[in-house]
């Protein structure tokens, strides 16, 4: 290994610590051979192995060796830096060395977990350790800078999760911006009549929270709005929000409905989104009586004024406060926040994708979400469940797992469908006294009071047929089937294919990620699972954090879950945001770029490439200069600098080249 000229603090003394990670690493990598190998690498004065380096005794090993003067730099060969870089930097610091005199070799995710070949694993582990040793020999002590955390929080999505997180924060005295893209907050929960397993009235428990959001002095509620730009980093995000024009002034509208009355359309004519298209609304409307804010909105796609320009605009005349404003334009708001909670929820599975279930083909086949509206006292039928011909259904089949646990659509279990199917079975029976059949694969009712609810339904004489439904059609084979929908299913408990004629079918659709989840995740620079759910930092230990510091998750955007779990998660996300705010400041990774002014030729190449405007040109001395406070350590300028005058802490050319040399020398 070449000795770099600019070594400042004497000959390095490197300690290498190789972690077994229980048997995670040890049963693939030959630890003893690797320790012997590490001991012979240049500048290595200590090479040790330990069962769990991340444990207290593991960290203590490092600290003792530093205190004893045996080492001044540390290499830990264990898991991903994502897991434990902070742990070991900290241990290095606690031992008395600068925390950045540390380098990690990932011999778990990059080695033992990705091969069955023990010899190859050992060779690669050695190469990665050699690379880390070569690199750390050139590390320099670095100081971290602290920047204050902006105390305001952005919450995206106004379903139950977003509402609960916002209120928690606002009640703690924090200022919240709640951005919801629909004209009202409430999300899916606002559409339900009752909620399982307690059957309490959904509106009764949700709407007080919705009004509290509206009334809270600490919450700025922006409905009909979307986040269009995010810049910055933990503690210091700059967010751009687009407020779509609703053509009704939010501050003036009192929600009196006069404008809707006055509209030239005497009756609703366009599918009402809130009622899943089961009723019609006018171009000017309020989604539902408890909509929050209770402010009308004009849909320019259907409004005669916007379509033809010829409307006399009676709505505007009818509005006493003069709130109807056809000349409203979109507005871009820019706010600074320190943390973000994403609570963008889910989208219900499109039942038409399973063609053999006849959705959209036969009348009287509904999705569960439609049934939620139809059994809802505030819904399009006032809570009466009727068939297309106006009769009450005498028999109803509820088909579970539509778009869930199905390799053709979604392999995962949507978690809430068994429970809401039980709820709907109860409500349907209560409203219609029909025979209700549940077609299920497995009943999944884990949760407080959930199994009990299932027991209760069993006693309510609801039928349960175990088997995945094969097909739903109206092809009668015998007289009794005529005029009915026939559900074909293999009843796996009696081992027979059955044909069950019913009047009405409910398809219990699963939960899917929002169609724009990928765009949203890009905007906020977080990850998605392959199904599109936002990815938590750790499934067990950091379930509401993301890989981007300061961005948290709440509710169904992270994966299918029911309301109690959404609320719990929203509380957790709010607590994480509060913890960050209370901490007051964050330490920045000292990976900033810097100009070696002595050798900068003032060529201007870097000036234009910095995405953060952190580089300026000092004309008097013909040098470029990096503002460390603005630099985010992206390295773009370093790559661009033609003469190597720009370098980056933790990633100097020498360190990287030496790291590569370490690998190359030892493979």
């Amino acid at each position: 290994m070449s000795v770099p000229e600019n070594r400042t603090n004497g000959t390095p003394k490197i300690g290498v610590y190789i972690c077994h990670c229980g048997i995670n690493i040890a049963n693939k990598v030959n630890i003893k051979e690797t320790v012997d190998f590490a001991a012979k690498l240049p500048y290595v004065t200590v090479a040790k192995e330990y069962k769990f380096m991340c444990s207290d005794p593991g960290q203590e090993l490092i600290q003792q060796d530093i205190r004893a003067g045996l080492i001044d730099r540390v290499v830990v060969a264990s898991c991903s830096p994502l897991m434990h870089e902070a742990t070991f930097r900290n241990a290095t610091g606690e031992g008395g060395a600068n925390p950045f005199m540390f380098q990690m070799a990932n011999i778990r995710e990059h080695v033992s977990w990705v091969t069955f070949d023990k010899d190859a694993a050992t060779v690669k582990a050695k190469a990665l350790i050699a690379a880390a040793v070569h690199r750390v020999s050139l590390h320099r002590p670095l100081e971290q800078t602290r920047v204050p955390v902006h105390p305001d929080v952005l919450v995206v999505g106004g379903g139950i999760a977003g509402i609960h997180a916002s209120l928690t924060l606002a009640n703690a005295g924090k200022k919240v911006y709640l951005v919801e893209r629909e004209p009202t907050i409430g999300g899916h929960m606002a559409k339900f009549d009752k909620t399982f397993p307690t059957l309490d009235c959904s509106a009764c428990i949700l709407t007080p929270k919705m009004s509290a959001v509206r009334a809270h002095p600490n919450i700025t509620l922006w409905t009909y709005s979307e986040v269009v730009g995010v810049e910055g980093f933990v503690g210091n995000f700059k967010v751009k929000v687009r407020r779509k024009p609703r053509y009704v002034d939010e501050d003036l509208c009192v929600g009196c409905l006069e404008c809707i009355e006055a509209c030239i359309f005497k009756k609703g004519k366009f599918p009402d989104e809130f009622n899943q298209g089961l009723s019609q609304r006018k171009p000017i409307y309020i989604p539902f009586p408890q909509a929050t804010p209770l402010v009308a909105v004009i849909d320019p796609e259907t409004c005669a004024h916007f379509k033809t320009g010829k409307c006399k605009k009676p709505c505007a005349d009818a509005c006493q406060p003069g709130a109807v404003k056809f000349d409203q334009t979109e507005e871009i708001k820019e706010v600074a926040v320190g943390s973000v909670i994403l609570a963008t929820g889910f989208k219900a599975f499109d039942a038409a994708r399973v063609g053999r279930y006849g959705y959209g083909k036969y009348p009287n086949i509904y999705t569960s979400l439609e049934i939620e509206r139809l059994v809802n006292a505030a819904g399009p039928t006032g809570g009466e469940l009727k068939m297309a011909d106006g009769r009450k259904p005498k028999s109803v089949g509820i088909v579970h797992c539509v778009g869930s646990r199905d390799n053709n659509t979604n392999a995962y279990c949507s978690r809430v469908c068994c429970m809401y199917s039980l709820k709907l079975a109860h409500l349907i029976k209560e409203r219609t006294e029909a025979e209700v059949y549940n077609f299920y694969i497995d009943m999944r009712t884990p949760g407080k009071g959930y199994e009990e609810f299932y027991e209760r339904l069993l006693k309510e004489n609801v039928h349960f047929i175990r088997g995945r439904v094969a097909e739903i059609n109206d092809w009668a084979m015998i007289d009794e089937e005529k005029g009915h929908l026939i559900i074909r299913v293999e009843d796996t408990l009696i081992g027979r294919v059955r044909r069950v004629p019913v009047d009405m079918v409910v398809l219990s659709v699963g939960l899917e990620a929002q169609p724009d989840a990928d765009a949203v995740r890009r905007l906020f620079n977080i990850s998605c699972s392959h199904e599109g759910w936002f990815l938590e930092r750790h499934p067990k230990l950091a379930p509401v954090s993301t890989f981007t510091e300061g961005i948290f998750l709440a509710g169904a955007c992270q994966g299918p879950k029911d309301i109690p779990d959404c609320v719990a998660q929203a509380g957790a996300a709010a607590a994480e945001a509060l913890a960050l705010i209370d901490k007051g400041s964050v330490e920045l990774e000292p990976n900033t770029a810097f100009v070696n002014e002595e050798v900068c030729a003032g060529c201007h190449t870097c000036l234009n490439v910095c995405p953060y405007g952190a580089i300026s040109y000092i004309k008097e001395i013909n040098k470029a200069r990096v503002n460390g406070a603005l630099c985010k350590g992206c390295g773009t300028c370093v790559a661009a600098c033609p003469s190597g005058a720009l370098q980056q802490n933790l990633f100097t050319d020498e360190q990287i080249m030496n790291e590569i040399k370490g690998v190359m020398n030892h493979v």
Partner: protein, 331 residues
């Protein structure tokens, strides 16, 4: 006290470096007076045997120019290394491999085929390519062997100092000779030129726009270069920002872009890679199609960015199959 002994030698080069020594004009006389030139095949009648007869380490300084690409060149530089206290790689070819180094995009077989069989200037029907050995009635004749791979001087022997440039600028030569003769030896491995990029010395420095961007690559053969504006800002590939200064910006003064003969600064490991990275940063487009269009306007990227430094770059040469030819590749 006897005068210091000096040798000059050339390997794969164009002769320009020899010119550069002569270009010292009257100053050459000073040098000639101060030293004993013991070997300089281009100017003085010495033979290899004369060098072989010298004591090891008896030559004070050998200035060697040209890249190394044949068995004979290798033998000679080996010999000079043994006989010399100090070896200076003189000029771009010895320093980084130089223009001959671009041959590393081919191999020997392809080069010989082109030069002796297929080039339009070859008498058609010729089937003879150079051999290292041939027996004629008078006896056996030999020729040095051409290597597959062109090397920089320090890839074959230990080099003490480097005088960069194509050819090295007169003032740098003078300075180097004076320092060495006065015994003020710099750190071994030093490149005897300022360690900062040419832009600093550029007469057009003030004309650099703050927003330096390239929307189209232009070639001097197609467009007229505005003599008062930053050449790179006009879209001509000027590599002054990547290249070590010390030349006095003579090309710029002559209204031509810098082609990078002085090589990179000490902080840059691979001139061509760095140049590409820097120039790519200036391309003013963000969709792939536009980027491709701009880049396609750049003629001969290897010849442009690695014009003087392919052998000394990280990759050295184009890929050769392990069984490809087996020609001798030097030390």
């Amino acid at each position: 006290m006897s005068k210091p002994k000096v040798a000059f030698y050339w390997c794969a080069s164009c002769g320009g470096c020899e010119e550069a020594v002569v270009d010292l004009n009257e100053d050459i006389l000073g040098v000639v007076q101060a030293v004993d030139i013991v070997f300089w095949p281009v100017a003085l009648d010495f033979k290899r045997q004369d060098v072989e007869a010298m004591d090891d380490g008896s030559i004070t300084v050998s200035f060697i120019n040209g890249a190394i690409r044949s068995s004979e060149q290798y033998e000679m530089v080996e010999l000079l290394r043994r006989k010399s206290k100090i070896v200076i790689a003189f000029g771009s070819c010895a320093h980084l491999g130089g223009i001959p180094g671009l041959a590393n995009t081919f191999d020997r077989a392809a080069m010989l085929k082109e030069a002796y069989l297929e080039s339009p200037s070859v008498t058609s029907g010729n089937t003879t390519i150079p051999q290292t050995e041939i027996t004629v009635p008078e006896g056996k004749l030999t020729l040095p062997e051409l290597w597959d791979t062109v090397k920089s001087l320090d890839q074959t022997i230990k080099v003490d100092y480097y005088l960069p440039g194509c050819p090295p600028p007169a003032n740098l030569i003078k300075e180097a000779v004076t320092t060495i003769l006065e015994g003020r030896l710099p750190e071994p491995g030093t490149i005897l030129a300022p360690d900062i990029a040419l832009c600093e010395d550029c007469p057009r420095r003030e004309t650099k726009p703050d927003k330096l961007i390239i929307e189209q690559f232009k070639r001097p053969s197609q467009y007229i270069i505005d003599p008062d504006q930053c050449i790179l800002a006009q879209g001509f590939l000027c590599l002054g920002s990547v290249t070590r200064k010390g030349c006095g910006a003579v090309c710029i003064e002559g209204n031509m872009p810098c082609t990078g003969c002085m090589g990179p600064t000490s902080r840059v490991k691979d001139f061509g890679a760095k140049a590409m990275s820097a120039i790519a940063s200036l391309i003013d487009a963000d969709d792939e199609e536009k980027i491709t269009k701009i880049i396609d306007g750049m003629a001969d990227p290897v010849g442009t960015f690695y014009r003087y430094s392919l052998p000394a770059s990280i990759i050295h040469r184009s890929y050769q199959k392990p069984d490809g030819g087996g020609a001798h590749n030097g030390a």
